[in-house]
Amino acid sequence: MTTAAPAATRASAPNRPADVIFKAVSTTAGVLILIALAGVAIFLVAQAVPAIIGPLPEDDSFWAWVWPLTFGTLWSAFLAMVMAVPMAIAIALFITHFAPRRLASILGYAIDLLAAIPSVIYGLWGIAVLAPFMQPAYTWLADNLGWIPLFSPPASGTGRTILTAAIVLAVMVLPIITALCREIFLQTPRLNEEASLALGATRWEMIRMAVLPHGRSGIIASSILGLGRALGETMAVAMVLASAGAVTFVVVGSQNPSTIAANIALRFPEAHGITVNMLIGSGLVLFAITLLVNALSRWIIAKTTVDGGR
């Protein structure tokens, strides 16, 4: 509304070349993005159809083939989120409300650096350091807590289990969630914080009464962003996870499900014929999952955002 008035006065002025060019460039860019998106979607569907309808050489149906991969994708991302979200919230709270200023800025910087590490490096770290480090723990868990379905023996001999992959994923999504939560927690209205302190809240109670409620939708939004990354992460999982295509909740064994993204990366180079269509079909499934997750997050945010809460 406010832009209408200046626009009207400017309309009488001659069209400046810079304006015309800028408008053309930005319109083209916007249209190109839409075309690219539509192109990707059309490509995925068109290539996936033969696999979805057609007879497959080895598997009963496309869905039977893609289900273990889908399960592995969701399960590893879920495990990663279970570890990363509480950790990220705790770190963000520590940085914003507990740490001395100097330490807080060093920590914030360190977390941002984690985000800059390429995923191949995470993969290498997962294989070379984390897997052997965790392996004895898995053996112990299988031996002593094997009655819990998550830890059913036998334990993996290499440590390259879905839990190791999930830990790597958790470390990878930690920076983005932490950074966003930190921004949100810093924006808590001073007035709300003081309201709770003046009632005699301890620092932790103040966080529960003022900081977390204010940050709720932001925490959800940042978690979903992290989840998106965990679902689509390819390289690190492909390197770390020793997969067997099983559908199981056991997190310490050697019979691990693979994930869609990692499976595509590992199999595509040698794929031909219908296998290519199957892999692309699985990509379509991943695409659908990510869309769904995003829609869900928007819905949750819209539902939980109260006026004044932000």
């Binding site: 200023r101 209205p189 007035l191 003081e194 302190l197 009632l199 005699g200 809460g309």
Partner: protein
Amino acid sequence: MSKRIEINDLDVYYGSFKAVEGVSLEIEPRSVTAFIGPSGCGKSTVLRTINRMHEVIAGAYVDGEILLDGANLYGSGVDPVNVRRQIGMVFQRPNPFPTMTIRENVLAGVLLNNRRMSKSDQDDLVERSLRGANLWNEVKDRLGIPGSGLSGGQQQRLCIARAIAVSPDVLLMDEPCSALDPISTLAIEDLIEELKQEYTIVIVTHNMQQASRVSDKTAFFNIAGTGKPGKLIEYDETTRIFSNPSVQSTEDYVSGRFG
């Protein structure tokens, strides 16, 4: 319930900046004391030292003592959290918790101390506190809506209800009406008159009529210039401060000649 406050030679700092210097005054129980003075003279600062809210600001500290019925609030081993549970505070801008309902807002402070309060006790307390804040009739049918859905004046009375729900000894108010319209302001002033039966009340106000309407005693603060610490200039019966103050600058201020 209502307790006596004694401030002895209080200096208040923000880091290396000395904001207030050498304040000493005694506040009787069941009375209303107004802090007046030009802006920046340290009224809010002194008020916030009384419930130890001053020190939540990084680098802020005080030198001196404040006694509540003889017990030093700044004594070693005194937990500021406990001090704040005894001394309630109402802020300049209404600040109900935006994600909590009216009922939850009223109970917020009580549930910090006593988690296992029965539902019926909670209902009683909500009603009593909201009645105490003259808000009950307006909200009794919608205790479940968010506190932020009320008007500004109602929100401020909700904040008062929240503060008195914990039965504090003292109620501090920092310009509680400055964000409100005249009608809501009168409602709060009437409320202060009633609350005085039970609480020691200290109110900061920049509104001279308000100070003369609601308070028994008035403390006038002033500041020599920017960067200088604020000081307590005169403290006396409100009628005296407004009719026949003993210091010239008080007279200048209350008669509107400066500030």
